[in-house]
């Protein structure tokens, strides 16, 4: 604990108090509340076991595994091109973004690089899946707090983005479009113009959401100062993406690593927030969505001519070696540690998914909050169940 703002300090004291209460023999009997696996707030089948003292949580722990599909084992019996079909399903709201780090890792091992055109299109699709993912998050925020309207607006506007993704790749949710050495296809005719219009709509959506939800005082009072995560703790737990940046850590894998995606072609900003509370996490995500729209708009004007696929053997054998590539996915740092033994398929793939680490902090951050805050904190930490369970 280094320097803490007032809010952080208050939250810290509350959690310490809850800690103390847990350790003292109480005359009253606590209640164990089992939230999930089937529960409206858990976006799937996450289970949270919370021990309550009145309405205050004195101990909470998420319990995952209700949807574990064993992708790490399954990848060992797939060929490299087949793996993308599986890993599409990890974060199902931003599927294309899941493929990219794996493909980059395979390309790194094979020592090839996608043509510039493919890289730019990859980046555009990557950002589109981020927009599709995070726009739903922005709508879902309201629902977790009883405001049902934003989620419908989010679904409406996300549909435009999904249409774009479908137009380019043929799949709304699971494109499976990225190939080792490039992309499956080029962009269809008229796609670029349409994307520009949609991006303007999405920026409008961000503005609308900001005034409708973020400007709401009840929303602010529910979010500000709740679920504060100091930067030190965030780093220790491996929080990534907007959750980390909301704690004031200026780190974005899109900017801070040398990777074969075209973020350096455009002018954009990494948003951070010093507070580290639920509000900060949501706010950073909102800014990022807007920033993503700007990235896409800029990249659309810079797509170079050329092929979208480099020359790769028809039967892909990846040379022996190990590589770890991670990218800044909608949920945070997603990486694949790929070990190849020179076969058709990987020897081992360790999938570093963002939500797994993001959720592991839940038992720390939920301590001392009230029951209603459980849902707001969970929703501001933003997890996709497939991303926890893999």
């Amino acid at each position: 604990m280094t320097m803490m703002s007032d809010r952080q300090q208050l939250s810290y004291i509350a959690s310490q108090a809850a800690d103390a209460r847990l350790n003292v023999e109480l005359e009253t009997e606590g209640m164990t509340l089992n939230i999930g696996p089937q529960h409206p707030a858990t976006h799937g089948t996450l289970r949270i076991i919370a021990r309550l003292d009145g309405e205050q949580v004195i101990w909470a722990e998420p319990s995952a595994g209700y949807m574990h599909r064993g992708y790490e084992k399954l990848t060992e019996v797939r060929t490299f091109p087949q793996v993308t079909t599986l890993i599409n399903r990890i974060d199902w709201l931003g599927s294309f973004a899941n493929e990219v780090p794996f493909i980059l890792a395979a390309e790194k091992l094979m020592d090839i690089e996608a043509p510039p055109r493919a890289q730019v299109i990859r980046t555009i699709l990557f950002e589109l899946s981020r927009i599709a993912n995070v726009s739903l998050f922005l709508g879902d925020l309201g629902v977790q707090m009883g405001a049902v309207t934003p989620v419908f607006l989010a679904f409406r506007d996300r549909e435009y983005v999904l249409n774009l993704i479908e137009g380019a790749t043929g799949g709304r949710f699971h494109p499976n479009f990225d190939r080792i050495g490039g992309l499956k296809d080029d962009l269809p005719k008229g796609w670029i113009d349409e994307t520009k219009q949609v991006m303007k709509k999405l920026i409008g959506f961000c503005d609308e959401n900001e005034s409708l939800l973020f400007g709401n005082e009840i929303f602010q009072s529910r979010m500000r100062g709740i679920g504060v995560i100091p930067a030190e703790i965030a780093k220790e737990y491996g929080l990534s993406g907007a959750n980390l940046r909301a704690s004031g850590v200026d780190y974005d894998l899109r900017r801070d690593q040398d990777i074969a995606l075209s973020y350096d072609l455009c002018d954009w900003k990494v948003w951070t927030h010093p507070d580290g509370d639920s509000w900060a996490r949501c706010w950073v995500r909102l800014q990022e969505t807007r920033e993503s729209c700007k990235i896409v708009l800029q990249l659309l004007d810079q797509i170079p001519a050329g092929p979208v696929m480099t020359k790769v053997p028809r039967i892909i054998k990846v040379p022996e070696g190990e590589a770890y590539v991670s990218t800044e996915n909608p949920l945070g740092e997603m990486g694949y540690y790929v070990v190849s033994k020179g076969d058709l398929g990987p020897f081992r793939v360790k999938i570093r998914s963002a939500s797994f680490s993001n959720m592991s902090i839940a038992s720390w951050v939920l301590k001392g909050v009230y029951v209603p805050d459980i849902v707001t904190i969970l929703s501001s930490l933003y997890f996709i169940l497939g991303d926890i369970d893999r």
Binding site: M31, L33, N34, I35, H39, P40, A41, E55, G142, V143, Q144, M145, G146, A147, V148, T149, F152, L153, R156, L212, L213, N216, I218, F219, S221, R222, Y370, V371, P372, D373, I374, V375
Partner: protein
Amino acid sequence: MINTLAVEIPYWGQSIFRVVGGLVAVLLPAGGIVYLFLFKMMSFMQSRLGPMEAGPYGSMQLLAEVGKWLQKEDIQPDNADKTIFKMAPVVVLLSTFLLIVVVPFGPEAFFTDLDAGVFYFLAVGSVSVLGILMAGWSSANKYSLLGGLRAAGQLIAYELPMVLATLGVVIQAGSMNLQTIVVAQNTGEIFGWGGLGNPFILTQGVGFLIFMIAVQAELTQPPFDMPIAESELVSGYMTEYSGFRFLMFFIAEFATAGVFAFIASVMFLGGWGVPFDWFGWSNLDDVDWWMNIVGPLILTTKMFGLVLVIMWVRFSSPRFREDQLQTFAWKFLIPLSLANVAVTAILKVVF
């Protein structure tokens, strides 16, 4: 009402007449509110169409829904306290029906004309708390229990500002009889000008706001829907209910919205009346008989206007946390309404 028809109706006939009238007065507005606001207004606010298939513009959708609910199995949890579990929705709905009893719809169109009407509706309105608490406790479900307890705390907290807000009206009208309050508003004058009467929303604006906020809380609607809070407590005290019993909660929710809007328009918007100046009436006895037909329509129109506000807030607000909600009631609304009462009393003495 009875005198107007100029026929002698025996007591049992009057009773049946009143029961049917009560059902109509509660269920018709409730159906209208569900269709107009829950189905259609909410849909338009959320850029969708809402039900469109059943009947013209989906107007028969509610009947289909009711049919669906009636067909569903009446499930009771094993560990539930079965008798109480079954009684709870009846108690909640009962409170709604009891409320409608005192609402004056016209000069002679009312179910009863109690001298302490305001007192009665405040008392009867709290009966629903009992039903909610019964539902929460008897369901043998932790979510229900939390929801029930939250509801109890919240309803008690907001009962107080509601009482204090009505107190201003009572002081100004000088009566607890709702009929008298209506007449007082319509015969009133604003600085000697009676063209608009003197609806108490003008002099009791603060009271009206407090009353509407308290109504919103009594109805457990967003931003005060902590007891239901579907994203954290699944459905609060209603979690274990299904089929017909859920339908009763559902009807009670919207019918109560209607009834409270009735009462609010009676107390603050002039009720069934038009300014008596327009037709040269000076007191209740002068009012023409046709007001018994037009009055209910006027009152219903005002009621729908108020429900529109209630629903608008409901569909567009996130919800407070339980402690924030209590803080808001105890630290803000109650002092404000006390001040309102004090100022009203002083002004009443001065003028």
